[in-house]
Symmetry: C2
Subunit: 334 residues, 2 copies
Amino acid sequence: MQNTYAIGIDVGGTNTDMGLVRDDAKIVARRSIPTTNYTDIVPYVKDIMAEIESMCAAGDQEKGVGAIAVDELTGIGMGAPNGNFYTGCVEWAPNLPMKGLLEFEAEFRKYTNIPVVLSNDANAAAYGEYVYGGARNMDHFIMITLGTGVGSGIVVDGKLVHGSTGTAGELGHNILIPNGRPCSCGRKGCLEAYTSARGVVKTYVDLRAEKGVPPETEKHPDWIGAQVADADITSKMIGDAANAGDPLAVETYRMVGEWLGLACANACTFSAPSAIFLMGGPTKVGAPLLDPLRKSFEENILNIYKGRCQIYMSHLKANEVAILGAAALIKLKS
Amino acid sequence: MQNTYAIGIDVGGTNTDMGLVRDDAKIVARRSIPTTNYTDIVPYVKDIMAEIESMCAAGDQEKGVGAIAVDELTGIGMGAPNGNFYTGCVEWAPNLPMKGLLEFEAEFRKYTNIPVVLSNDANAAAYGEYVYGGARNMDHFIMITLGTGVGSGIVVDGKLVHGSTGTAGELGHNILIPNGRPCSCGRKGCLEAYTSARGVVKTYVDLRAEKGVPPETEKHPDWIGAQVADADITSKMIGDAANAGDPLAVETYRMVGEWLGLACANACTFSAPSAIFLMGGPTKVGAPLLDPLRKSFEENILNIYKGRCQIYMSHLKANEVAILGAAALIKLKS
């Protein structure tokens, strides 16, 4: 059977990555343009379309397929912050240089009539996992993405939950600890404030301020010393230190794991998923996060769900999930 | 067009109420048997079937319809604690005299081949609201039922969320306050521990122990005095006192409203419902609960959902919702 091709676009605050995706989950070609160059969607979509045409013109050399007409693509899928599935717009995304209501679907319509589907980046990641990754054949699962923020995509009965607004699935802004840490959303105690990359750093910095670094730190060059300024600390640095045995870093990820485990247990009371997938920078630390996370999950999960929901890392490659996920969205409208 | 008829059964810990339900949401006949008489489902289902046959034999006098054959019913819907939609069983319900795995659908199959559908009582209430009540035409909404416990039913894309296990939608056991009050489920800090009838009483009793009753209580016979023993206090008594201005009772429902408002705001991050419906004993107090609840909801809701989700009381009558909801479940399998 002939392969089909789709475009997946990952709209990041810094770069916009896009790819020509074959239906067997192979990214045939990739392009990137700097999102920061654009304050208006008209030139932005024009330049994206030029890149799409360029990728299509090159075809799929591995399969010996020559130029692909844009109108033969199965569609254009776009994962973007505050992307709304119902309206085809990006709605007041705080971290994009383009502001306000961005009518992407309408703008793409100037160039092509193939399906154009938007959703937020975490929903795209979830659907990528469903179409191409570890959630194939799972009718009920949740994806939680840890990065600068914390996003989520929820699949119920094999469909992404978009809710009445088109913007459902924001577990990062579930209030985990009432009157807790200030969150980027202006409220307090959200999961994001505790388990985003910034949340990880905040936990470490607070712990260090309270306890000071252990005396043996000076013998361990791969631990984080007292001389590293708060502002220079990253979640990756803490992850590396945790894997090198730095007690403060281990303690940091233990706490993050406990919070995330509680959040995962709470999510089960909603949709009773058969799995929760995790992805994103702070998850790369591995065991220092996952071990306490799984322990906390088991401790906090309601009895009737015990043993019936697994925690997995995303099966998709970190540098592919956003493009694959965006391309997968097209299946929601076909 | 000719009317159709269904059976709705509400399995309570004390009584089992059932009704013959016409498709215009009229309960044509009702029966009740004491659940507490049964430790085995064989005689229980036998006696239920006898009541169903008795209701059907009487027909629908208002419409001049004579005896209805059981096999002409659209189905039998059963709302029961721990009722599992997928398996047709009640699974280890702690508050029923019948114990273990109760295979109701199979047991009913001994008598009839019409659809037999089980779900838990809160799911039934939610679907009753969807089919017969205030949620008609709402594709995304949540029902929260406050009673001895706190249950919930979640509708996404017009379908009840049953999840991978058949037992999704247990927002009463979402952990609202980590390491908070002990809950009946054995964990700590669940919504149920704060907003069930028992949670309301616990809040009042704790407040009274801490503050004592206000000196002016003796002038107000409709306030709760210091002489009423803790064990004699009910959530209804506190509700009546709150409506009579008893400051401790008002404070109690203010706190309950704040907790419930936070829980409702958190639920929005999951499915972005267009409404959350409430029902059950502790909601009957009215404004002393609903005013602080709505205020807390507005304060805690994530910006993107603000103004897009309403809090309503169930539109169904308290003494009808369980039977109507159970009967409505049949639509999920037809």
